[in-house]
Symmetry: D2
Subunit: 351 residues, 4 copies
């Protein structure tokens, strides 16, 4: 880096993921913000679309093409699923050294069959998975030129279950019910996402294992379970709740033997003792999404329900921050050899 700033481009700057990447980059001391691109919004002022990004208000969006995005040190992709593959190929062909951080799903899964079953298209490939807090991942991310940013639900669900699965104190037959704010569904105008429809309303969707984040959670836990991927079963139900940001994941699994709440808690504290962004709350205090808004923090708590024979863990993240853009910046820091926490905070915006 030699004291000079890293030059960064953001594709999909008019969307929620792109906007959040920019919000974080504006507070990052080591970057300079270069090209900002969009699809249908190309040609518009960013200020008209992202009025909260005042310092960039007069920037004009350019079309999302390799020509526009080339010549940057880092390119963040905030594109609809399935669109990152071709663009990333073009970018890396022009400059093998460019760091491409994909906020989409294209490169998250290892299993081609799982990709095709859940996304219905050809699989683009697998990149280093941008969840440094899971065993083995941080090493793969240091100095990488490619990052697959995890899905928002898998981030919090995996972190809430990983210590228990890795320690073998639960049977990896997990149930995850995760309530999300509406920004997770993106900024495309759809009737069921109108304010009138979502305020005063909670609904379930993608029920029965059909949500695309299911195989990603399975993949993450499969790496940790003693019995391997085949031993893992994931029942995942996402809920849409009336708030803009945040995910609260309630996760449980049958106990593998006699485990007390205190023992389970210790497993979690030890697992995340050195993690700058994972905050295991004091015993008895449960996570809430408001506490993590805008931050890169993950709040966790765990207990044992002896009568039901289950361990129950709850996690909270900001789906746009640690759930997407915060992880993207965290991984950029790892890729560039910067301090992993640069430009990120554990302080949320509340109330």
């Amino acid at each position: 880096m030699h004291m000079s700033k890293v030059r960064v481009a953001v594709a999909g700057a008019s969307g929620y993921a792109g906007g959040e990447v920019l919000r974080l980059l504006l507070g990052h001391p080591g970057v300079e913000i270069g090209a900002l691109t969009a699809a249908s919004n190309a040609g518009e002022r960013l200020g008209a679309l992202q009025p909260h990004l005042v310092p960039l208000a007069d920037r004009v969006l350019e079309p999302t093409t390799a020509d526009v995005l080339a010549g940057h040190d880092v390119v963040f992709l905030g594109l609809p699923h399935g669109q990152s593959g071709a663009l990333a190929a073009e970018l890396t062909e022009r400059d093998a050294d460019v760091v491409v951080v994909d906020c989409g799903a294209d490169f998250r899964l290892e299993d081609d069959a799982a990709w095709e079953r859940f996304y219905g298209s050809a699989h683009a490939g697998t990149w280093p998975y941008g969840l440094p807090e899971l065993p083995g991942n941080r090493e793969a991310l240091r100095g990488t030129r490619r990052v697959a940013v995890p899905g928002c639900y898998p981030t919090v669900s995996s972190l809430a279950l990983a210590p228990a699965v890795a320690a073998g104190i639960v049977v990896p037959d997990v149930v995850v019910v995760a309530a999300s704010g509406t920004s997770g569904a993106g900024k495309a105008a759809k009737t069921h996402l109108l304010g009138s429809e979502v305020m005063g309303n909670t609904s379930a969707y993608g029920v029965g294992g059909v949500h695309r984040h299911t195989p990603e959670i399975t993949q993450n836990l499969g790496r940790l379970a003693a019995g391997g991927p085949e031993s893992v079963k994931v029942s995942f139900t996402p809920l849409l709740v009336p708030m803009s940001r945040g995910i609260l994941a309630t996760c449980s699994a049958p106990l593998a033997g006699d485990v007390t709440a205190e023992e389970a808690y210790d497993v979690y504290v030890k697992a995340y003792a050195d993690e700058p962004f994972v905050h295991v709350l004091p015993p008895g205090q449960w996570p809430q999404t408001q506490a993590v808004l805008g931050s890169n923090a993950v709040h966790l708590q765990v207990t044992v329900d002896a009568a039901a024979g289950r361990l129950v863990a709850v996690g909270a993240v900001d789906n746009l921050a640690k759930g997407t853009a915060g992880a993207a910046v965290q991984c950029m820091n790892l890729a560039l050899g910067l301090d992993e926490t640069t430009g990120l905070t554990t302080v949320g915006l509340a109330p």
Copy 2:
């Protein structure tokens, strides 16, 4: 009844349960609203406390005493848990024929030990359980003088799981994660229930089997499970989500054998075919709380997650309506020999 109207009193008329009972009674053709009582709000105009109840705006609240409540055909109790027992004893001693409908928890549980463990006081007794849609209950409610209105979470959770448990297509080792609006927590001023704290926020509470509705769900399913109460395990986690009303319960259990989604759906359709208030949605359409607001309807859907080996059912109710006051009026109708649906609707207020 002989054409004359039933005279009804409401204790706790300044609270949310009492207010909702009154809202429904104002649309009920067979009742006349008598005494309205409150604790600390006695002496105040109802209009200052419940400004939505315009026709009763000038009514003044009286203290909650047996003297005030005596002389009515029906008395609804919307009191804090533990306060109904003594008052009900006084009322029924004065008039054995009075219909007492308790919206609190005091008379819901059959098991004294469960009551004492979860409520920490002496158990007042057990009354007919006001969930007519569960097998056997309706018969006990017809002509009864005592009704224990079910808890809001047990209402929707039990109805969402009952057909599967009764049909034996699941192992009764259930996981329930239920998201509730804030009115379920009552109208007493508490910091964590302030608008500033709950808007933009989702949180879990009562995690690990400690919520008081857990034994009530267990009791309901225990009556239906082939293996009896001892065979039932319930992992229940309530969530607080940023809306005033409504509960969405996501319920799942391991499949007991090979069951397809279609077979499971048929079990539910048949179980509720004659129920006026239970609406099993068409396949593929999932419940949302907005659709049931203000109504006595329960919306249900069910599917099978073959990969996870679980049946997943989702239910929505208005916690104050079918979850409390609607059930109370429904049971009053049964007690008085009126048509069960009188004064109630399946039409919700949306958006």
Copy 3:
């Protein structure tokens, strides 16, 4: 009517206005619901679009044509502005006796020039204005075959200012700032109406006198002002606030002379003494939208700010109910010679 039910059709049944008309008609004892039509949603089940209207869930939407709508006693039109004129002409040509209740703006204004300036198209004409609470209107609505349902903002703003203007206690140079829930903006998918955009957000729009409801408020007050329409000036600013339903209008005008708060209050109480739906709150209690949700009530309060030399009146309505569909049903009642309050309530749904 002679005991037989009035047969009613609703055009635009998939939208918010149409849905609310249907919600109210389902509780109206004198009607039978006939054809339900839509534009792009024709062919779909109503239950998929309006899941709260359970009794009509299996109805299939037909296309919005005169053929489909003909043969009913009453036709409600819930169409985009500008589309009612031609359809109404077709319907009345086929059957001069059909009652057409237009929930759109097409027939509200008397002044062709004002229509063209604010709506940019040819003016379709002027129908009896469906705000019976303003002097002279009720008489014109009794037995009418045509109703122009008022706009939601003009309903509450006009009712909040009319007594003061008619009594001459203010100079008719009024300032109205009215906060509305998002359903007033309709159900068409637009980015700025997404839940993510409107939750946690308040914004002004149509500032500077350009909102289309401005001339309608001016017209209403112009009929009452001693100086006639030319004496009236209206500064109207609408706000979008994070709730689905409800409008709160804060209205003020310079005092025309020495007027006390008590005198102003008396003017309002007298003006609305016989109105079944207008509820002037007791002194010191101010309107809130939650109290009128789902109801046809208008809550009003007024005071005098002596230091500022202004009368300040605040009104609350449900924009979809009294602000649109409730007024439509109220006017249908007047048109058909039914009791004006049939099928309507002053009881709101709160909390």
Copy 4:
């Protein structure tokens, strides 16, 4: 300062103002956070009360006394109105050089009579007024040891009207209707501030010129009006809207002569050309609160309603940030001779 960090204490650290001061100080490079005090919460972990302030989670709150607060370079007071005076006197007696930044109202007003009329107690005095963007204020704040942080409503209302009043393009007979999120009402548990009461609800309060921020707005505009304080009339109505943070103020005044929208806009652009935190939006774009959440920015827009003869200006701020704690930090920077923008941002958290 000599490279060493300024040592800061916060009184009222468990409340919303104190919490926001801490959130901002955690991102301020020049301060070290010392004592944190509270009243009834003394003895508790900060993490239990402000779970979003992770780096301070293990801090224990001390009682709010001069003993605890003494020995710091800067003391922020986030106390109920009327409690700052005595404590500030004690602190400055011990150390005349301590910078005291009062987030309460005690020292905002110049007029003893106005204080007594609106607050009902003896007036503590007048300190430099912490709104540097109004003419003359910044100079008084540089190097000061005392700061009276403005009220949230006066901040945005005064900034939205000041350029027009100072330029004489309006008659200073202003109407302000300002919609606020609930955090402005504080963290004390009150029934009318419960989530169930405020969600889905908009209400007016303090109507008729009785809100305590009225004399503060009058004072600010009175300094700018050519006719002096006596020429200014302020009609102020605050609204409570269903969101946690943010104020949107809609402000208008009669035009003083022929003024076009363009001319008015130019007046505003020039007035704030050098202000780092005031962002006059491009013509046609109107402020929204979501865009300023968590930031110190003020978004403004202005236009002329020729038909109504009024100038209309709209402003948005975060009531807790620029409306309270952000202004407090901004003024601390001025007091200490730091760059005014240190630790503050114009970037909001959206969506």
